[in-house]
Symmetry: C2
Subunit: 238 residues, 2 copies
């Protein structure tokens, strides 16, 4: 079982996705927001690229979440903020989400065999799910503003470390070796590193420290969101 | 002082090079070969892209080294092999070198303020040299076949770790944080990791284990090759 990492969404080429299990990782904050929305009871999530597409979905059962340059989109219900969404009653509701990098990465991942949403909040469950399907794996780090993002790389390292614990025979790419080591090196001070990351510093300046603190939490849930027909679900019972 | 890393030569954009000190890192094997040639007494090295260019330089004082897909080019004196070159008498000679990725990275680096050649063999001296010039730094990892290469990333992490020891106030990019951690995690078993890397495995299959063993050696020399007017020198006395 081969395991590879794509460091930014710009580098996501089809041959690294086709026939594989893919995990989209955008820790700050899209994938953390998606996982959190399911914790809050959300039924399904529709990732869209443009704000116009998001508005077209609005109805009584549908709420809109999203950001452009870390700020809430006008007319949306929520920002792309997991802590804002954590305290909502989303029971049975549908969420439409549009962000700068995360939703683009999710759409690219649709070319894979099976596409999951990963974060620190659900990393160990993602690792177990990937091993269950026995397909080669690509961890697709969204990155930020076309650059590699520390928090996504560390989360990839976290998921890879968990996979290796369960199956030491994985065939790791060069990038995978690096990220496993980086995660294990920083494991005891993840929050500190997230606060020092480029995206972390940007969110701090906007007064969004709570989001960083939440997104650095490990294995808060067993939910593993999966993309199917352009919608994101969690299996009942997971 | 900002410090950034470019993970593969394909990602080397001009804005990350201009006005900066740049270190070209192609551990297996171009930058290790260049450093080794100076240890063997070589006077200057001319990196060229094509074999035709290399042939045009040939004279009594000039030897040709290079590879395509890890194998010696026909008509050249040496392969791109540091252990082959280590035992030569190159006193006062000029070496023309042409490799698949390394020489391309060197040529890209010419857009910088100052361009050095880095490897495990001279990493600590490279770190000291970078700090001396007080310019922002870019470590340009050559990579292999358009992919990130483990050995280049670990060497970048080594040079960055040494810089940080001497100047803890460096402003690190997200990639730099990752590679420092990876180097420190694997520090005690560098050779083992180089043997497991994609390039390492390829060289092993070709019977070139000696080169990997040599390239994994730390601080064998204080020579810091520098690129000037399309030629590579070392300062007398370094």
């Amino acid at each position: 079982m081969k395991v590879d990492v794509i460091p930014t969404v710009n580098e996501a080429r089809v041959e690294k996705l086709t026939g594989r299990s893919v995990v989209v990782i955008d820790v700050l904050r899209c994938s953390s927001t998606i996982v959190t929305a399911f914790i809050a009871g959300c039924r399904e999530i529709i990732p869209v690229e443009t704000c116009g597409q998001a508005y077209s979905f609005r109805d009584e059962q549908t709420l809109l979440a999203g950001e452009r340059f870390c700020k809430k989109v006008q007319g949306f219900d929520f920002s792309n903020s997991p802590t804002e969404i954590k305290d909502q009653q989303l029971g049975g509701k549908r969420l439409v989400i549009s962000t700068t990098n995360g939703t683009r990465a999710i759409q690219k991942s649709a070319k894979s065999e099976r596409s999951f949403i990963g974060s620190f909040l659900n990393g160990s469950s993602v690792a177990r799910e990937l091993l269950k399907y026995r397909k080669d794996v690509t961890l697709l780090c969204a990155g930020s503003r076309d650059e590699f993002a520390l928090e996504d790389g560390l989360c990839a390292g976290f998921i890879l470390s968990k996979m290796l614990e369960l199956n030491p025979a994985l065939e790791l790419s060069d990038q995978a070796f690096i990220l496993i080591a980086a995660y294990q090196h920083y494991e005891s001070r993840l929050l500190e590193l997230l606060l020092q990351s480029t995206t972390g510093k940007r969110l701090l300046q906007l007064g969004l420290a709570d989001d960083i603190h939440w997104c650095a939490k490990i294995d808060v849930t067993v939910f593993v969101p999966v993309l199917k027909d352009e919608r994101i679900f969690v299996h009942p019972g997971t």
